[in-house]
Symmetry: C4
Subunit: 270 residues, 4 copies
């Protein structure tokens, strides 16, 4: 028995009906438009010329997002679950900045969070299989997470240690003006980014930098090795990945084996 | 029964007869010559001095390429297939710029596409075994492609998100003049290239940059892990690679198992 | 039979009693405070303003660390073992610089070693499982160490060789002023850090740099491959990691299978 | 029956007798001394002051190397084999530059090749096990070599193609003065070195650079994956590595299974 509210839910949360697809594609276009406006606003020449247009467009988009947000709450079967879900919070934070800009100057800039709405694109494009690939990646990262934390901790200690040594060796006149700044340099070097805005000038400093570089170069093997080894093992026991549960309504595949309701739209799972 | 046209096809598309080899080697020399001219033309001192010579040489090479292209079409058994094939299109685009330069100033520069003709080198050098290695690589990339797309999507979202944050933190005076420019900076940092033409100056900006670097450093593990895991699995089931079908006439090994005609020269496969 | 000294040992070395936990958390806060002071001292504006406060705080922290060090020696069951252990030496070196600063100007800077006390954090947070992950990493690095040394030796020879060649090609006027400096450049390039403070200007120099970069890019595969292959094998024979022995008192899991006493606190193992 | 010549061979080529060890250690010291002199000579301040001392020392070392070279030829059982071997040629090229400097100014600089004599260090230190590790690495690189060549070929084509496009987009005024120079930039970017001496300024140029970076970042997975997959397989069939043949006289382990004489010292193998 499908009431008007039920139909609306099908359109907003579902992806399988023509109306649902049309809704999702419109939403995707709206999100991309809002990001494009955000970017164009940041370019000074463009902003000074089209300021008032951007202002109007921003309010129109925020209005549409607000209506969508309220409809999502109204049609959701488990309202609290949706509001507190990852996507629910992003939907809220995407509309807040524009309203806050009425009270606080500059809060407009928080609209950056609107970018995260792009995550809906995955679902909109019905990339169920891509979600599967994403889930595998996430699983590999999760298994390796303990080792990766140990690894980050190690990088932190090395950076602070080298930073303090380098402060003594190079001194302030070569750009190594404070330990926090040298830790920034150490991370830039360890990760092989190497901006070159700070670089050692003394022979001893260059020697220490060389040790740090080779260490960073060798150590890059560690996270790679960890993730790879876990992916190799994952490939070995493929059947373990079949335990994912897909929601018939919205195609969300992130539900755990023990889920009874889809965490995205609140629909009951079989 | 081998007519003149058949013999010519053997010479142009084949690599097994002495005449076919001679043709391919001449073609290779011609391609390398055309690329060398393209490069020398770009060096200002050389160009101003030899301008007229380059002009003549360019027309001679284009003429020869045109004759070759027409002969390929004429001798090909399945003309349309050749014209619309990857190599057929490159052969066409390699000669177009010179002709277009008669009508449009600057279109000459499109000759860059001539570089792609170098791909023929692989075939000319009869590197059938190298093609095999290339195919394996392609297969590994194909299997991992879904995960790599998810990965690129993730990088895109992170870049836009960090870009917007950084725009607020650093502001215009430190070179972070617009969000698109900061996205460029974020990609430069995430991929650990690190030109240093834009670099954060404030402590908060450097902190965010450090998080981005370590993320990029850890995240580099992901594509590596994906490709490696697939290569390891590929090694495990070696026999699956024997399904390639090689063309007896031109040595092309890219034909799929269901191909009835070689997509390169149109010859019937057994 | 638990005397006062035994109880104190439980507090200082142990992590399982409430008092032990409180002691460890206080210690952690003290260590973090000492590092924060070290960092703030290095920022010129902050230092000139709060110099005397930093001086006092530094002596207070050193005093507390000294008391802790003496208590550790007094309560330890196997005193010499603790003093000569890795942690014992760090505990000593962490308090020495402040005392040395009475006699030698500048020795204060050696306080950098205090950073290493952060390693205690792992134990304080009772990250026994993280220690397990760290042990696995260490085992993988150990198995690959021979190959990594060969690899470093190779990098060294390549750097010296390229350095000497580059000195001849570029000469002093382009910043390549001496071979040691070019070796620094070669390492910066091989490890893909690329500061850009020294960069080749001549065409020949850029050609050699390109070879070095591609070599470095390809060669990065080697340490990664080594560590990964060892981690994959390690995953295959999981049971071998069960031989670790954990100390009931302090949770130290680094003891070898043949250890009779915990090397951290000297407690007898079962 | 051991004549004087035989004994001398034991000393020069062998590493198992005390005299042989003493000879090798002296040689190692001499090589390191010659490299140190080469480096110090390149530092302008040091060179102007100690020029005559360096001149004398250089001739003394060259004299000793010459005597060693002649003795090696005289005592070798298979002279031609030694002279044409890898080490034989390095031994020759290490002494030539000093003699050539009598006739040609600047040929002195070729002494860089002396660095390669360091490879003897591996043997001198009797690092037979390290040689084993090096051999495994070499085997992994050899198996992957075909794929790595395809990979380098791909990088070359991408660099030339992007280089030509970038020349059109950025133009001469932004440092992209000629296609060969842009190819250098493309390699600097693809390998994530990123000096920053040349960087795109236009939005379109930065867009193309971003594509190149992400490509380089993703593509780095390929050589790593290849080497790793081969190392994993190598670990699986360990027994295949036992076919190495070690020379009893000099400890050289590089001889192939079919070798009848050690290629280093010419001694007959069992």
């Amino acid at each position: 028995m499908s009431t008007g509210k039920d139909k609306l839910r099908q359109v907003i949360f579902g992806v399988n009906t023509p109306a649902g697809k049309a809704f999702d594609v419109s939403l995707l276009i709206l999100i991309l438009a809002s990001i494009t406006i955000l970017m164009l606003e940041s370019v000074q020449e463009i902003n000074t010329r089209w300021k008032s247009s951007f202002f109007k467009l921003d309010w129109i988009i925020t209005g549409l997002f607000t209506i969508e947000y309220l409809l999502r709450i109204w049609t959701s079967e488990r309202k609290r679950r949706y509001i507190l879900s990852f996507y629910g919070l992003i939907d809220l934070f995407a509309i807040l900045p524009t309203y806050l800009s009425l009270f606080f100057v500059g809060s407009q800039a928080l609209a950056a969070i609107r970018v995260l709405r792009l995550l809906r694109v995955l679902r909109v494009l019905k990339l169920v299989q891509f979600m599967g690939a994403a889930n595998k990646l996430r699983a590999a990262l999760k298994t390796s997470s303990q080792k990766i934390i140990v690894f980050l901790f190690f990088i932190m200690i090395v950076s602070i240690f080298v930073g303090t040594l380098m402060f003594m060796i190079e001194g302030r006149e070569h750009g190594f003006t404070s330990i926090p700044r040298i830790i920034y340099w150490a991370i830039v070097t360890l990760t092989t980014v190497g901006y070159g805005d700070i670089a050692p000038q003394t022979t001893l400093g260059q020697l220490l930098a060389m040790v740090l570089m080779i260490m960073g170069y060798g150590v890059i093997a560690v996270p790679t090795g960890l993730v790879t080894a876990d992916l190799v093992r994952q490939n070995a026991d493929k059947d373990s990945t079949n335990s994912e549960r897909t929601c018939n309504l919205c195609g969300n595949t992130n539900n755990t084996a023990s889920s009874k309701y889809c965490f995205e739209c609140g629909t009951k799972l079989d």
